[in-house]
Symmetry: C2
Subunit: 249 residues, 2 copies
């Protein structure tokens, strides 16, 4: 197969030059390492990036069927009328073997992409919004400390209410589960041990699961509705205001 022999040369050249390889064709895939998998012959897309990460995509589904993280050692050779690609890692030991039996398309590109990726509306942004605007929790709420370490993990926010009672705040960016309520309860236990009196506990999340809500009620844990999106809007508004005040100062 002259076509696959040519492909082998181009793949080797691309690997050496740190190019991205896009190979469309008929292939079999086996993986052995943390798990083991077999995938029989079919038409797929193989992507090898400049950092030697490897992805195999089927014609459907968002996730790759097989992959190898960046830095794998890649070898390529011909075996009869097949093009073999062996992608190996040592820690943990794992191997991905791709057997290409028919080539549909092969492209290689040297790509330049230095842009910064910015993401917002994460759990971190919810915490920042509360720190910059504590009345999200309630009127008169003040921050004492963020990420205060306790025996198991860290308390998202420790604060005091208008009557100077300690408040333990736990933040979740998704619907809170029973387990999240238990975690907050354990944090409150730690604070009670340390300060000698029971703090208030407030779970901040866009919503609570039914079991989480009933457990929270039983344990006397309060909750506040806040979505990551709303937190992001509060931050943006506030920072806009800060810039305005700075400009006038």
């Amino acid at each position: 197969m002259t076509e696959l022999a040519d492909a082998l040369e181009r793949v080797r050249e691309a690997l050496g030059a740190g190019k991205v390889v896009l190979l469309v064709g008929e292939m079999e895939v086996t993986y052995e390492g943390r798990s083991m998998s077999w995938l029989g012959r079919g038409e797929r897309i193989l992507m090898i990036k400049g950092d030697r990460s490897v992805l195999i995509h089927r014609p459907k589904g968002c996730e790759p069927v097989n992959w190898q993280p960046p830095g794998s050692h890649i070898e390529a050779w011909l075996e009869g009328d097949r093009l073999i690609l062996s992608c190996n890692r040592t820690a943990p030991p794992e191997r991905l073997k791709i057997t290409v039996s028919r080539l549909v398309q092969l492209a290689t590109h040297k790509l330049a992409d230095e842009a910064e990726f910015e993401m917002h509306a994460r759990e971190e942004d919810m915490k920042l919004a509360i720190i910059e605007e504590p009345c999200i929790i309630e009127e008169g709420f003040r921050i004492v400390e963020s990420e205060r370490p306790v025996r198991e993990g860290a308390i998202d926010i420790l604060g005091v209410d208008s009557q100077d009672r300690l408040v333990v705040v736990e933040i979740k960016r998704e619907r809170a589960s029973k387990e999240d309520v238990k975690q907050l309860s354990r944090y409150a236990d730690q604070i009670e041990l340390e300060f000698g009196r029971r703090p208030r506990s407030i779970l901040v999340a866009p919503s609570l699961s039914t079991s989480a809500a009933s457990l929270a009620a039983r344990l006397g844990i309060e909750s506040r509705r806040l979505s990551p999106r709303r937190a992001q809007e509060i931050l943006r508004k506030r920072r806009g205001l800060d810039r305005f005040l700075a400009g006038n100062g």
Copy 2:
């Protein structure tokens, strides 16, 4: 830009025909939905599959920088000298907008892939290995029940030892963490409540983290070393033996 106008037509045709689109070029990307993200201009690979899942890959890294799961509604149009792709979902509401400013390559393919994907050596296989060969846990160990539901979740394996003491077994396919030890301890609490006496607790995993090991020691929790790979070997050997015995029967 005649090139991008031509690309628009080919993308539309591919979307209608359920083809896979591979577009390499310079683009900006914004996402708004469960989170929000911005990515400035750079050279990337856009993949749209037949099921309308969308992936954007940078030249490095295993994971896509942005994506949209299968079934998103995709619209494409020209805006000045830019090709715009808008990929929308309704549940949850989220939108991915791609602005292509320069085309490097565009390919579309109708791919056929009907192969079955088989994966082995998962946590499930570790459980099966213990069920088929209980002496992996210890001499005289017998299975009572698998996946026994308790208040929070399910016990992987409940069994009895050679002295008829109850044993709660928790299986982890990776190095076990402190949290895994706590989970097992809570399961043991539930069994103690139900049966009126403290069961033995055994954590099965390829290894334990240092903090997990010390917590296990403090709580009187035992452990057994078992990797998914070894479990898979045991299963294969055993099933081979079963077939041999069945052939002789």
